[in-house]
Symmetry: C2
Subunit: 207 residues, 2 copies
Amino acid sequence: MVEEALTAERILEAAEEVLRRFGPAKATVVDVARALGVSHGSVYRHFPSKTALRDAVAERWLARVSHPLAEVAAEKGPAPERLRRWLDLLRELKRKKARDDPELFATYSNLVADARDVVRVHVETLASQIARILADGVEQGAFTIEDPVAAGWAVFNATAKFHNPIHASEWSDPGNDAAFEGVWSLLLGGLGVREVPAKARKKPSKK
Amino acid sequence: MVEEALTAERILEAAEEVLRRFGPAKATVVDVARALGVSHGSVYRHFPSKTALRDAVAERWLARVSHPLAEVAAEKGPAPERLRRWLDLLRELKRKKARDDPELFATYSNLVADARDVVRVHVETLASQIARILADGVEQGAFTIEDPVAAGWAVFNATAKFHNPIHASEWSDPGNDAAFEGVWSLLLGGLGVREVPAKARKKPSKK
DNA sequence: GGACTGACAAAAGTCAACATCTGTCAGTCG
DNA sequence: CGACTGACAGATGTTGACTTTTGTCAGTCC
């Protein structure tokens, strides 16, 4: 019987499964090793610490959030509509993770609370995706922005309530979607979009 | 020797002092009673539970946040400048509490995490103060807003990162003030303010 | 007679003995 | 030789007996 070689990749898969099963509070390195049929010392040959292993699992998991978003950010269509879809997708992905993968989501929430580097990189990725959409929008003449990078951060910060896992418990509140729509309106104006998308708007009489 | 009557007011003062000293984790009803020289049974004559007592202490404490803000909200000057001062004051008050009154601030953070009614009332108060400033601004022709109440909530939500105690640990981050400025710019635009306040801006060439 | 006490039950919290886990490394095995 | 093991020390968690706290209420005292 040919044993498959022990690789970082296989450890990550096993670790993710163990985290999913037992959650961040109960999952141990011994559990991961047991799932792989090796001693836990072997795991430490590939990852310097349990923390590093957890970060690496989270990194893969976060990539599965930021990749679909990157695709939307890279599209060609009108930027305002694209920004809206991007934000909707971010909310949807986060909420889906919180719902379908509660233990991994709890792991991620811990990382956020611990201000781990892997989280900093993730939010930088997201903010720069927004910046990219905003820059496209400026080129299209749809947005009036001085500094798309700064504005990208501003959009990310202003919508924190709707994607930061620290606020996850509020996502199922009755008014949450309405609250998002309110902030979205603010954003549209703040980005220099003059046309109100839905029903036609009267031209302002003054000025 | 005339003993002063035991009133809810005196209990609240003692409870606040006990909470300030020992923090939410260590303060007990017996401590509060001891500070007043009575049995803890007497305290339960005035408050139905420890939770109710804690909420009442927080309510007083929150009033000391919302009252100075209400004064700013009620002023007569130009609304955009007033909104800015209101937000600055909110940030300053919250940060001051976190710094100078860490135990009471921790008590409040717990209440927020528990989604207590007293917190809901507090944020409703704040959101309506914003709405009032916005309504003034619309009357002055400084803001272009359809629904000041909805916009008040949106401003409150979009700035959550800068006043919600759940984010308190980020308030001392290096970029936090810059992040606030970014969101503030977004807000100004989102509220329909066309003039950029600081250095003169060229008139837009298109449209 | 109503504010207050103090004794009490149930709930929650503490703490130290015990158990498990993390991280290391000398040594085995293929 | 080098991936892997297993035994180990120190750190961290768990357990369960014990203590404190919460909340109640019959009874006292002015």
